[in-house]
Protein backbone atom coordinates (compact mmCIF):
# COMPACT_ATOMS: atom_id res chain seq x y z
CA UNK A 1 0.00 0.00 0.00
CA UNK A 2 2.72 2.42 1.02
CA UNK A 3 4.43 1.66 -2.28
CA UNK A 4 1.56 3.06 -4.29
CA UNK A 5 2.07 6.69 -5.13
CA UNK A 6 -0.19 9.05 -3.18
CA UNK A 7 -2.27 9.80 -6.23
CA UNK A 8 -3.23 6.19 -6.76
CA UNK A 9 -4.52 5.54 -3.23
CA UNK A 10 -8.15 4.46 -3.25
CA UNK A 11 -10.60 5.50 -0.53
CA UNK A 12 -10.28 1.99 0.89
CA UNK A 13 -6.45 2.27 0.96
CA UNK A 14 -6.83 5.48 2.92
CA UNK A 15 -9.20 3.76 5.39
CA UNK A 16 -6.38 1.26 6.09
CA UNK A 17 -3.86 4.07 6.68
CA UNK A 18 -6.33 5.91 8.94
CA UNK A 19 -6.74 2.76 11.04
CA UNK A 20 -3.05 1.74 11.00
CA UNK A 21 -1.94 0.31 14.37
CA UNK A 22 1.13 2.57 14.35
CA UNK A 23 -0.70 5.74 13.36
CA UNK A 24 0.09 8.57 15.79
CA UNK A 25 -2.60 8.83 18.48
CA UNK A 26 -3.46 11.65 20.86
CA UNK A 27 -0.79 10.54 23.33
CA UNK A 28 1.81 10.91 20.56
CA UNK A 29 0.51 14.33 19.55
CA UNK A 30 0.59 15.55 23.14
CA UNK A 31 4.20 14.34 23.49
CA UNK A 32 5.30 15.70 20.10
CA UNK A 33 3.50 19.04 19.91
CA UNK A 34 2.65 20.23 23.43
CA UNK A 35 5.12 22.07 25.72
CA UNK A 36 2.90 21.14 28.64
CA UNK A 37 -0.23 19.07 29.31
CA UNK A 38 -2.27 18.89 32.50
CA UNK A 39 -4.82 16.13 32.17
CA UNK A 40 -8.20 16.82 33.78
CA UNK A 41 -10.23 13.77 34.68
CA UNK A 42 -13.86 12.90 35.06
CA UNK A 43 -17.31 14.11 34.08
CA UNK A 44 -18.37 14.78 37.76
CA UNK A 45 -21.39 12.59 37.14
CA UNK A 46 -20.31 9.01 36.64
CA UNK A 47 -16.63 8.38 35.95
CA UNK A 48 -13.53 9.08 33.93
CA UNK A 49 -13.66 7.82 30.37
CA UNK A 50 -10.24 6.67 29.16
CA UNK A 51 -11.41 6.72 25.53
CA UNK A 52 -11.80 10.50 25.49
CA UNK A 53 -9.29 12.61 27.35
CA UNK A 54 -8.60 16.29 27.83
CA UNK A 55 -6.84 18.96 29.78
CA UNK A 56 -4.89 22.21 29.75
CA UNK A 57 -2.19 22.22 27.11
CA UNK A 58 0.42 24.63 25.82
CA UNK A 59 1.09 24.46 22.09
CA UNK A 60 3.85 26.69 20.74
CA UNK A 61 3.53 28.92 23.81
CA UNK A 62 -0.24 29.23 23.41
CA UNK A 63 -2.50 27.98 26.20
CA UNK A 64 -5.49 25.91 25.08
CA UNK A 65 -7.98 23.32 26.27
CA UNK A 66 -7.15 20.11 24.43
CA UNK A 67 -9.72 17.32 24.12
CA UNK A 68 -9.66 14.21 21.97
CA UNK A 69 -10.44 10.56 21.49
CA UNK A 70 -7.75 8.23 22.72
CA UNK A 71 -6.75 5.06 20.96
CA UNK A 72 -4.04 2.94 22.58
CA UNK A 73 -1.03 1.20 21.20
CA UNK A 74 -1.04 -2.55 21.65
CA UNK A 75 -3.80 -4.73 23.05
CA UNK A 76 -3.58 -3.82 26.72
CA UNK A 77 -3.60 -0.08 26.20
CA UNK A 78 -6.33 -0.37 23.60
CA UNK A 79 -8.54 -2.32 25.98
CA UNK A 80 -8.02 0.41 28.58
CA UNK A 81 -8.84 3.06 25.96
CA UNK A 82 -11.79 0.98 24.66
CA UNK A 83 -10.23 1.30 21.17
CA UNK A 84 -11.10 4.98 21.14
CA UNK A 85 -14.84 4.40 21.54
CA UNK A 86 -16.17 6.79 24.16
CA UNK A 87 -19.06 6.27 26.54
CA UNK A 88 -21.49 9.04 27.54
CA UNK A 89 -19.19 10.10 30.40
CA UNK A 90 -16.48 10.84 27.82
CA UNK A 91 -18.72 13.28 25.96
CA UNK A 92 -19.88 14.80 29.25
CA UNK A 93 -16.28 15.23 30.39
CA UNK A 94 -15.52 16.96 27.10
CA UNK A 95 -18.43 19.32 27.69
CA UNK A 96 -17.25 20.06 31.23
CA UNK A 97 -13.78 20.92 29.95
CA UNK A 98 -15.16 23.10 27.16
CA UNK A 99 -17.24 24.99 29.72
CA UNK A 100 -14.02 25.61 31.66
CA UNK A 101 -12.31 26.73 28.48
CA UNK A 102 -15.06 29.28 27.91
CA UNK A 103 -14.77 30.50 31.49
CA UNK A 104 -10.97 30.86 31.33
CA UNK A 105 -11.00 32.29 27.77
CA UNK A 106 -8.98 29.39 26.40
CA UNK A 107 -9.53 28.24 22.82
CA UNK A 108 -10.51 24.57 22.39
CA UNK A 109 -8.46 22.20 20.24
CA UNK A 110 -10.28 18.93 19.56
CA UNK A 111 -8.60 15.82 18.12
CA UNK A 112 -10.95 13.34 16.48
CA UNK A 113 -9.98 9.68 16.11
CA UNK A 114 -12.69 7.12 16.85
CA UNK A 115 -14.40 4.21 15.12
CA UNK A 116 -17.59 5.59 16.72
CA UNK A 117 -19.29 6.11 20.06
CA UNK A 118 -19.30 2.86 22.04
CA UNK A 119 -22.35 0.74 21.14
CA UNK A 120 -22.81 -0.96 24.52
CA UNK A 121 -25.90 -1.57 26.64
CA UNK A 122 -24.48 0.48 29.53
CA UNK A 123 -23.77 3.35 27.13
CA UNK A 124 -27.43 3.29 26.11
CA UNK A 125 -28.58 3.17 29.73
CA UNK A 126 -26.47 6.22 30.55
CA UNK A 127 -27.73 8.14 27.53
CA UNK A 128 -25.20 7.98 24.69
CA UNK A 129 -27.63 9.79 22.39
CA UNK A 130 -28.36 12.53 24.92
CA UNK A 131 -24.65 13.05 25.69
CA UNK A 132 -23.74 13.53 22.02
CA UNK A 133 -26.82 15.62 21.26
CA UNK A 134 -26.10 18.04 24.08
CA UNK A 135 -22.51 18.47 22.97
CA UNK A 136 -23.69 19.41 19.47
CA UNK A 137 -26.03 22.02 20.89
CA UNK A 138 -23.47 23.27 23.38
CA UNK A 139 -20.54 23.53 20.96
CA UNK A 140 -22.68 25.48 18.49
CA UNK A 141 -22.86 28.39 20.92
CA UNK A 142 -19.60 28.03 22.90
CA UNK A 143 -18.07 31.46 23.34
CA UNK A 144 -14.48 30.57 22.61
CA UNK A 145 -12.73 29.50 19.38
CA UNK A 146 -12.81 25.78 18.50
CA UNK A 147 -10.31 24.15 16.13
CA UNK A 148 -11.06 20.53 15.21
CA UNK A 149 -8.47 18.19 13.72
CA UNK A 150 -9.62 14.83 12.35
CA UNK A 151 -6.41 12.88 12.82
CA UNK A 152 -7.51 9.30 12.08
CA UNK A 153 -11.01 7.88 11.99
CA UNK A 154 -13.92 10.29 12.12
CA UNK A 155 -16.57 7.73 13.02
CA UNK A 156 -20.07 9.22 12.74
CA UNK A 157 -21.88 10.72 15.75
CA UNK A 158 -19.09 9.59 18.04
CA UNK A 159 -16.73 11.86 16.10
CA UNK A 160 -19.16 14.74 15.64
CA UNK A 161 -19.82 14.82 19.39
CA UNK A 162 -16.53 16.72 19.78
CA UNK A 163 -16.22 18.06 16.23
CA UNK A 164 -18.43 21.14 15.95
CA UNK A 165 -16.00 24.00 15.48
CA UNK A 166 -14.92 27.15 13.72
CA UNK A 167 -12.28 25.37 11.65
CA UNK A 168 -12.33 21.70 10.73
CA UNK A 169 -8.91 20.43 9.68
CA UNK A 170 -8.20 16.93 8.50
CA UNK A 171 -5.02 14.96 8.03
CA UNK A 172 -4.43 13.88 4.46
CA UNK A 173 -5.08 10.19 5.18
CA UNK A 174 -7.80 10.57 7.78
CA UNK A 175 -11.39 9.59 7.02
CA UNK A 176 -14.68 11.09 8.25
CA UNK A 177 -17.97 9.36 7.61
CA UNK A 178 -21.59 8.97 8.67
CA UNK A 179 -21.12 5.18 8.85
CA UNK A 180 -18.20 2.78 8.50
CA UNK A 181 -17.69 1.48 4.96
CA UNK A 182 -18.31 -2.06 6.29
CA UNK A 183 -21.58 -1.01 7.94
CA UNK A 184 -22.78 0.81 4.83
CA UNK A 185 -21.84 -2.12 2.58
CA UNK A 186 -23.71 -4.63 4.74
CA UNK A 187 -26.84 -2.48 4.75
CA UNK A 188 -26.97 -1.02 1.22
CA UNK A 189 -25.02 -3.70 -0.68
CA UNK A 190 -26.16 -6.48 1.68
CA UNK A 191 -22.57 -7.67 1.61
CA UNK A 192 -19.91 -6.46 4.05
CA UNK A 193 -17.15 -7.38 1.59
CA UNK A 194 -18.28 -4.52 -0.67
CA UNK A 195 -16.73 -2.08 1.84
CA UNK A 196 -14.21 -0.75 -0.74
CA UNK A 197 -17.10 0.28 -3.03
CA UNK A 198 -18.98 1.81 -0.10
CA UNK A 199 -15.84 3.72 0.96
CA UNK A 200 -15.64 5.21 -2.52
CA UNK A 201 -19.37 6.05 -2.71
CA UNK A 202 -19.47 7.65 0.75
CA UNK A 203 -16.74 10.17 -0.18
CA UNK A 204 -14.95 9.92 3.16
CA UNK A 205 -11.44 11.11 2.28
CA UNK A 206 -10.01 14.50 3.12
CA UNK A 207 -9.84 15.40 -0.56
CA UNK A 208 -13.55 14.59 -1.12
CA UNK A 209 -14.65 16.36 2.05
CA UNK A 210 -12.71 19.48 1.10
CA UNK A 211 -14.51 19.53 -2.24
CA UNK A 212 -17.86 19.09 -0.46
CA UNK A 213 -17.07 22.09 1.74
CA UNK A 214 -17.27 20.07 4.97
CA UNK A 215 -13.66 20.64 6.03
CA UNK A 216 -11.59 23.80 5.77
CA UNK A 217 -8.08 22.50 5.17
CA UNK A 218 -6.04 19.35 4.65
CA UNK A 219 -2.90 18.83 6.75
CA UNK A 220 -0.28 17.00 4.65
CA UNK A 221 1.23 13.68 5.78
CA UNK A 222 4.57 12.13 4.87
CA UNK A 223 4.48 9.80 1.86
CA UNK A 224 3.04 6.47 2.96
CA UNK A 225 1.16 7.93 5.90
CA UNK A 226 1.56 9.64 9.29
CA UNK A 227 3.03 6.51 10.93
CA UNK A 228 6.12 6.71 8.67
CA UNK A 229 7.17 9.94 10.41
CA UNK A 230 5.07 10.88 13.47
CA UNK A 231 7.32 13.83 14.36
CA UNK A 232 6.92 15.44 10.93
CA UNK A 233 3.17 14.81 11.07
CA UNK A 234 2.88 16.36 14.52
CA UNK A 235 4.89 19.37 13.32
CA UNK A 236 2.49 19.86 10.42
CA UNK A 237 -0.53 19.54 12.72
CA UNK A 238 0.99 22.01 15.19
CA UNK A 239 1.66 24.54 12.47
CA UNK A 240 -1.89 24.27 11.11
CA UNK A 241 -3.48 24.48 14.57
CA UNK A 242 -1.46 27.55 15.54
CA UNK A 243 -2.18 29.35 12.27
CA UNK A 244 -5.90 28.75 12.70
CA UNK A 245 -5.88 29.76 16.37
CA UNK A 246 -4.15 33.01 15.42
CA UNK A 247 -6.82 33.78 12.86
CA UNK A 248 -9.75 32.82 15.12
CA UNK A 249 -8.52 34.59 18.23
CA UNK A 250 -8.56 37.86 16.28
CA UNK A 251 -12.32 37.56 15.64
CA UNK A 252 -14.73 39.07 18.20
CA UNK A 253 -16.53 36.25 20.04
CA UNK A 254 -20.00 37.34 18.96
CA UNK A 255 -18.95 37.32 15.32
CA UNK A 256 -17.18 34.01 15.78
CA UNK A 257 -20.28 32.26 17.15
CA UNK A 258 -22.46 33.80 14.43
CA UNK A 259 -20.02 32.61 11.76
CA UNK A 260 -20.00 29.11 13.26
CA UNK A 261 -23.80 29.02 12.94
CA UNK A 262 -23.59 30.16 9.32
CA UNK A 263 -20.90 27.59 8.58
CA UNK A 264 -23.05 24.63 9.67
CA UNK A 265 -26.24 26.17 8.29
CA UNK A 266 -24.69 26.22 4.83
CA UNK A 267 -23.95 22.48 4.89
CA UNK A 268 -26.44 20.67 2.70
CA UNK A 269 -28.20 23.70 1.33
CA UNK A 270 -28.92 23.04 -2.32
Amino acid sequence: MAKKTEKKLTAWDIVQIARHAERPNITDYIRLMCDDFVELHGDRLFGDDRALIGGFATIGGRKVMLIGHRKGRGVEENIEANFGMANPEGYRKAMRLMRLAEKYSLPVVSFVDTPGAYPGSEAEARGQAEAIAHNLEFMATLKTPIVVVVTGEGGSGGALGIAVGDRILMLQNAVYSVISPEGCASILWRDGSKAPQAAEALKITAESLKKLGIIDAIVPEPTGGAHIDPAATAAAVKKAVLANLDALCAVPLKTLVAQRYEKFSAMGQA
Partner: protein
Protein backbone atom coordinates in the same frame (compact mmCIF):
# COMPACT_ATOMS: atom_id res chain seq x y z
CA UNK B 1 -56.58 -27.74 -18.82
CA UNK B 2 -55.83 -30.30 -16.12
CA UNK B 3 -58.08 -30.36 -13.10
CA UNK B 4 -55.33 -29.23 -10.72
CA UNK B 5 -54.38 -26.09 -12.61
CA UNK B 6 -55.64 -22.75 -11.40
CA UNK B 7 -58.20 -21.03 -13.60
CA UNK B 8 -56.61 -18.32 -15.76
CA UNK B 9 -58.65 -15.60 -14.11
CA UNK B 10 -58.80 -15.49 -10.34
CA UNK B 11 -62.14 -14.35 -8.93
CA UNK B 12 -62.26 -10.69 -7.92
CA UNK B 13 -61.54 -10.19 -4.22
CA UNK B 14 -61.47 -7.30 -1.82
CA UNK B 15 -57.89 -6.79 -0.57
CA UNK B 16 -57.52 -8.01 3.02
CA UNK B 17 -55.89 -4.77 4.15
CA UNK B 18 -59.05 -2.82 3.32
CA UNK B 19 -60.99 -4.89 5.87
CA UNK B 20 -58.36 -5.81 8.43
CA UNK B 21 -55.38 -4.10 9.94
CA UNK B 22 -52.65 -6.25 11.46
CA UNK B 23 -50.87 -4.89 14.52
CA UNK B 24 -47.20 -4.70 13.50
CA UNK B 25 -46.20 -5.64 17.05
CA UNK B 26 -48.52 -8.42 18.33
CA UNK B 27 -49.90 -9.39 14.87
CA UNK B 28 -53.52 -9.39 16.01
CA UNK B 29 -56.16 -8.66 13.34
CA UNK B 30 -58.21 -5.56 14.04
CA UNK B 31 -61.12 -4.33 11.92
CA UNK B 32 -59.76 -1.51 9.75
CA UNK B 33 -62.49 0.89 10.89
CA UNK B 34 -61.73 0.33 14.58
CA UNK B 35 -57.98 0.55 13.92
CA UNK B 36 -58.31 3.92 12.22
CA UNK B 37 -60.74 5.21 14.86
CA UNK B 38 -58.15 4.34 17.52
CA UNK B 39 -55.48 6.35 15.63
CA UNK B 40 -53.65 3.08 14.90
CA UNK B 41 -53.16 2.11 18.51
CA UNK B 42 -53.51 -1.64 19.01
CA UNK B 43 -56.46 -2.48 21.32
CA UNK B 44 -54.70 -5.63 22.50
CA UNK B 45 -51.02 -4.68 23.08
CA UNK B 46 -51.23 -0.85 23.07
CA UNK B 47 -48.56 -0.62 20.35
CA UNK B 48 -48.66 2.83 18.79
CA UNK B 49 -48.23 2.07 15.09
CA UNK B 50 -46.45 4.58 12.87
CA UNK B 51 -48.43 7.48 11.50
CA UNK B 52 -47.80 9.39 8.31
CA UNK B 53 -46.84 13.03 8.85
CA UNK B 54 -50.27 14.23 7.70
CA UNK B 55 -52.04 11.82 10.06
CA UNK B 56 -49.95 13.11 12.96
CA UNK B 57 -50.53 16.75 12.03
CA UNK B 58 -54.29 16.03 12.09
CA UNK B 59 -53.86 14.35 15.48
CA UNK B 60 -51.91 17.21 17.09
CA UNK B 61 -53.30 20.43 15.64
CA UNK B 62 -56.57 22.32 15.49
CA UNK B 63 -58.49 21.39 12.34
CA UNK B 64 -57.45 23.49 9.36
CA UNK B 65 -54.77 25.41 11.26
CA UNK B 66 -51.69 23.78 9.71
CA UNK B 67 -49.89 25.77 7.01
CA UNK B 68 -46.90 24.06 5.47
CA UNK B 69 -43.57 25.93 5.34
CA UNK B 70 -40.75 25.44 2.87
CA UNK B 71 -42.44 22.76 0.80
CA UNK B 72 -39.92 23.63 -1.92
CA UNK B 73 -37.00 22.44 0.22
CA UNK B 74 -36.56 18.85 -0.90
CA UNK B 75 -33.85 16.20 -0.85
CA UNK B 76 -30.33 16.80 -2.20
CA UNK B 77 -27.90 14.29 -3.59
CA UNK B 78 -24.55 15.84 -2.65
CA UNK B 79 -22.53 12.65 -3.26
CA UNK B 80 -24.30 11.54 -6.49
CA UNK B 81 -24.72 8.33 -4.49
CA UNK B 82 -25.27 4.93 -6.07
CA UNK B 83 -25.29 1.51 -4.49
CA UNK B 84 -25.95 -1.98 -5.87
CA UNK B 85 -29.70 -1.29 -6.06
CA UNK B 86 -29.35 1.94 -8.06
CA UNK B 87 -29.12 5.69 -7.70
CA UNK B 88 -30.23 7.45 -4.52
CA UNK B 89 -31.76 10.30 -6.53
CA UNK B 90 -34.14 7.86 -8.25
CA UNK B 91 -35.18 6.27 -4.95
CA UNK B 92 -35.74 9.65 -3.36
CA UNK B 93 -37.83 10.85 -6.30
CA UNK B 94 -39.96 7.70 -6.13
CA UNK B 95 -40.43 8.27 -2.40
CA UNK B 96 -41.54 11.86 -2.96
CA UNK B 97 -44.07 10.61 -5.51
CA UNK B 98 -45.31 7.82 -3.21
CA UNK B 99 -45.62 9.83 0.00
CA UNK B 100 -46.52 13.25 -1.39
CA UNK B 101 -43.98 14.91 0.94
CA UNK B 102 -40.72 16.41 -0.27
CA UNK B 103 -38.62 15.25 2.65
CA UNK B 104 -38.73 13.07 5.75
CA UNK B 105 -40.17 15.95 7.75
CA UNK B 106 -43.20 18.13 7.17
CA UNK B 107 -42.90 21.56 8.80
CA UNK B 108 -45.39 24.35 9.24
CA UNK B 109 -47.24 26.73 11.48
CA UNK B 110 -50.34 25.56 13.35
CA UNK B 111 -52.36 26.00 16.49
CA UNK B 112 -52.74 23.46 19.30
CA UNK B 113 -55.85 24.28 21.36
CA UNK B 114 -55.48 27.84 20.02
CA UNK B 115 -51.80 28.11 20.99
CA UNK B 116 -49.78 29.18 17.95
CA UNK B 117 -46.72 26.99 17.37
CA UNK B 118 -44.20 25.98 14.71
CA UNK B 119 -44.40 22.24 14.19
CA UNK B 120 -42.25 19.62 12.47
CA UNK B 121 -43.47 16.06 11.99
CA UNK B 122 -41.27 13.32 10.61
CA UNK B 123 -42.55 10.56 8.32
CA UNK B 124 -41.00 7.12 8.60
CA UNK B 125 -42.26 6.18 5.13
CA UNK B 126 -39.76 8.64 3.66
CA UNK B 127 -36.60 6.49 3.49
CA UNK B 128 -37.04 5.33 7.07
CA UNK B 129 -37.50 8.90 8.27
CA UNK B 130 -33.80 9.36 7.67
CA UNK B 131 -32.15 12.70 8.35
CA UNK B 132 -31.17 14.12 4.97
CA UNK B 133 -29.93 17.58 4.14
CA UNK B 134 -33.44 18.64 3.13
CA UNK B 135 -34.71 17.42 6.51
CA UNK B 136 -32.02 19.39 8.33
CA UNK B 137 -32.69 22.49 6.26
CA UNK B 138 -36.44 22.32 6.92
CA UNK B 139 -35.74 22.01 10.66
CA UNK B 140 -33.34 24.95 10.61
CA UNK B 141 -35.89 27.10 8.77
CA UNK B 142 -38.65 26.00 11.16
CA UNK B 143 -36.47 26.97 14.13
CA UNK B 144 -35.77 30.37 12.59
CA UNK B 145 -39.50 30.80 11.91
CA UNK B 146 -40.26 30.01 15.55
CA UNK B 147 -37.78 32.69 16.61
CA UNK B 148 -39.17 35.24 14.14
CA UNK B 149 -42.77 34.59 15.26
CA UNK B 150 -41.81 34.11 18.95
CA UNK B 151 -43.59 30.77 19.00
CA UNK B 152 -42.75 27.44 20.64
CA UNK B 153 -41.11 24.82 18.41
CA UNK B 154 -42.38 21.25 18.49
CA UNK B 155 -40.80 18.38 16.58
CA UNK B 156 -42.22 14.86 16.45
CA UNK B 157 -39.50 12.43 15.41
CA UNK B 158 -39.79 9.07 13.67
CA UNK B 159 -36.46 8.08 12.21
CA UNK B 160 -33.88 5.37 11.93
CA UNK B 161 -31.13 8.01 11.99
CA UNK B 162 -28.82 9.69 9.50
CA UNK B 163 -29.28 9.09 5.77
CA UNK B 164 -26.30 7.08 4.55
CA UNK B 165 -26.91 8.07 0.92
CA UNK B 166 -26.00 11.65 1.77
CA UNK B 167 -22.90 10.58 3.67
CA UNK B 168 -21.10 13.22 5.72
CA UNK B 169 -23.59 15.90 4.66
CA UNK B 170 -26.27 13.94 6.50
CA UNK B 171 -24.05 13.71 9.59
CA UNK B 172 -23.60 17.49 9.54
CA UNK B 173 -27.37 17.96 9.74
CA UNK B 174 -27.10 16.75 13.34
CA UNK B 175 -24.85 19.70 14.13
CA UNK B 176 -26.91 22.11 12.07
CA UNK B 177 -30.26 21.22 13.65
CA UNK B 178 -28.82 21.35 17.17
CA UNK B 179 -27.31 24.77 16.43
CA UNK B 180 -30.72 26.01 15.28
CA UNK B 181 -32.40 24.60 18.39
CA UNK B 182 -29.78 26.23 20.59
CA UNK B 183 -30.90 29.55 19.10
CA UNK B 184 -34.57 28.81 19.84
CA UNK B 185 -33.63 28.19 23.46
CA UNK B 186 -31.45 31.31 23.59
CA UNK B 187 -34.49 33.26 22.44
CA UNK B 188 -36.29 31.95 25.53
CA UNK B 189 -38.75 29.91 23.48
CA UNK B 190 -39.90 26.40 24.39
CA UNK B 191 -38.67 23.47 22.34
CA UNK B 192 -40.61 20.26 22.85
CA UNK B 193 -39.46 16.98 21.35
CA UNK B 194 -41.89 14.11 20.80
CA UNK B 195 -40.20 10.75 20.33
CA UNK B 196 -42.29 8.23 18.41
CA UNK B 197 -41.51 4.77 17.10
CA UNK B 198 -38.67 4.65 16.18
CA UNK B 199 -36.30 7.45 17.19
CA UNK B 200 -32.76 6.14 16.90
CA UNK B 201 -29.23 6.81 15.66
CA UNK B 202 -28.34 10.30 14.50
CA UNK B 203 -31.81 11.70 15.20
CA UNK B 204 -31.85 10.53 18.82
CA UNK B 205 -28.29 11.87 19.08
CA UNK B 206 -29.34 15.33 17.93
CA UNK B 207 -32.57 17.33 17.98
CA UNK B 208 -34.83 14.57 19.34
CA UNK B 209 -33.00 14.33 22.67
CA UNK B 210 -32.52 17.99 23.55
CA UNK B 211 -36.09 19.11 24.18
CA UNK B 212 -36.94 21.30 27.13
CA UNK B 213 -39.32 18.41 27.46
CA UNK B 214 -38.82 15.03 25.81
CA UNK B 215 -42.17 13.31 25.44
CA UNK B 216 -42.50 9.74 24.15
CA UNK B 217 -45.32 7.58 22.88
CA UNK B 218 -45.78 4.25 24.71
CA UNK B 219 -43.49 1.40 23.62
CA UNK B 220 -41.62 3.56 21.05
CA UNK B 221 -38.14 2.31 20.19
CA UNK B 222 -35.69 4.97 21.38
CA UNK B 223 -31.92 4.53 21.36
CA UNK B 224 -28.59 5.35 19.82
CA UNK B 225 -27.00 2.12 18.54
CA UNK B 226 -28.98 -0.71 16.96
CA UNK B 227 -29.90 -3.74 19.08
CA UNK B 228 -27.99 -6.15 16.80
CA UNK B 229 -24.81 -4.06 16.89
CA UNK B 230 -24.94 -3.90 20.69
CA UNK B 231 -25.58 -7.65 21.00
CA UNK B 232 -22.59 -8.33 18.77
CA UNK B 233 -20.45 -5.92 20.80
CA UNK B 234 -21.31 -7.21 24.27
CA UNK B 235 -21.96 -10.80 23.11
CA UNK B 236 -25.14 -11.01 25.15
CA UNK B 237 -28.85 -11.04 24.38
CA UNK B 238 -30.60 -7.84 25.44
CA UNK B 239 -33.88 -7.84 27.39
CA UNK B 240 -37.10 -7.23 25.41
CA UNK B 241 -37.76 -3.87 27.06
CA UNK B 242 -34.30 -2.53 26.11
CA UNK B 243 -34.51 0.86 24.32
CA UNK B 244 -38.27 1.19 24.77
CA UNK B 245 -39.88 4.48 25.76
CA UNK B 246 -40.45 2.96 29.20
CA UNK B 247 -36.74 2.01 29.50
CA UNK B 248 -35.72 5.49 28.36
CA UNK B 249 -38.00 7.10 30.93
CA UNK B 250 -36.71 4.84 33.71
CA UNK B 251 -33.15 5.93 32.85
CA UNK B 252 -34.05 9.59 33.03
CA UNK B 253 -34.04 10.74 29.41
CA UNK B 254 -37.76 11.24 28.83
CA UNK B 255 -40.07 13.45 30.89
CA UNK B 256 -43.34 11.72 30.24
CA UNK B 257 -44.89 8.90 28.22
CA UNK B 258 -48.16 10.09 26.77
CA UNK B 259 -50.70 7.90 24.97
CA UNK B 260 -51.51 9.11 21.48
CA UNK B 261 -55.11 10.06 22.28
CA UNK B 262 -53.90 12.44 25.01
CA UNK B 263 -50.92 13.93 23.21
CA UNK B 264 -52.55 17.10 21.89
CA UNK B 265 -54.11 17.98 25.25
CA UNK B 266 -50.81 17.24 26.99
CA UNK B 267 -48.90 19.57 24.66
CA UNK B 268 -51.41 22.35 25.24
CA UNK B 269 -51.20 21.85 29.00
CA UNK B 270 -47.39 22.05 29.20
CA UNK B 271 -47.30 25.00 26.81
CA UNK B 272 -49.64 26.83 29.19
CA UNK B 273 -47.17 26.13 32.00
CA UNK B 274 -44.53 27.66 29.75
CA UNK B 275 -46.60 30.84 29.62
CA UNK B 276 -48.68 30.39 26.45
Amino acid sequence: MSWFEKPAEAPARVPTEAIWAVCPSCKVYVAREAWDAADKVCPRCNYHARLSCRERVALLTDAGSFKELNADVSFNDPLSFEDSSGAYADKAKATVAKTGVGESILTGTATIEQIAVVLGVMDFRFLGGSLGSGTGERIRLAAEKAIALKRPLIIASASGGARMHEGIVSLMQMAKTCAAIARVKEAGLPYISILTDPTTGGVSASYAMVGDLNIAEPKALIGFAGRRVIEQTIKQKLPDDFQTAEYTLAHGFVDHIVPRKELKAFLAKVLRYAGY
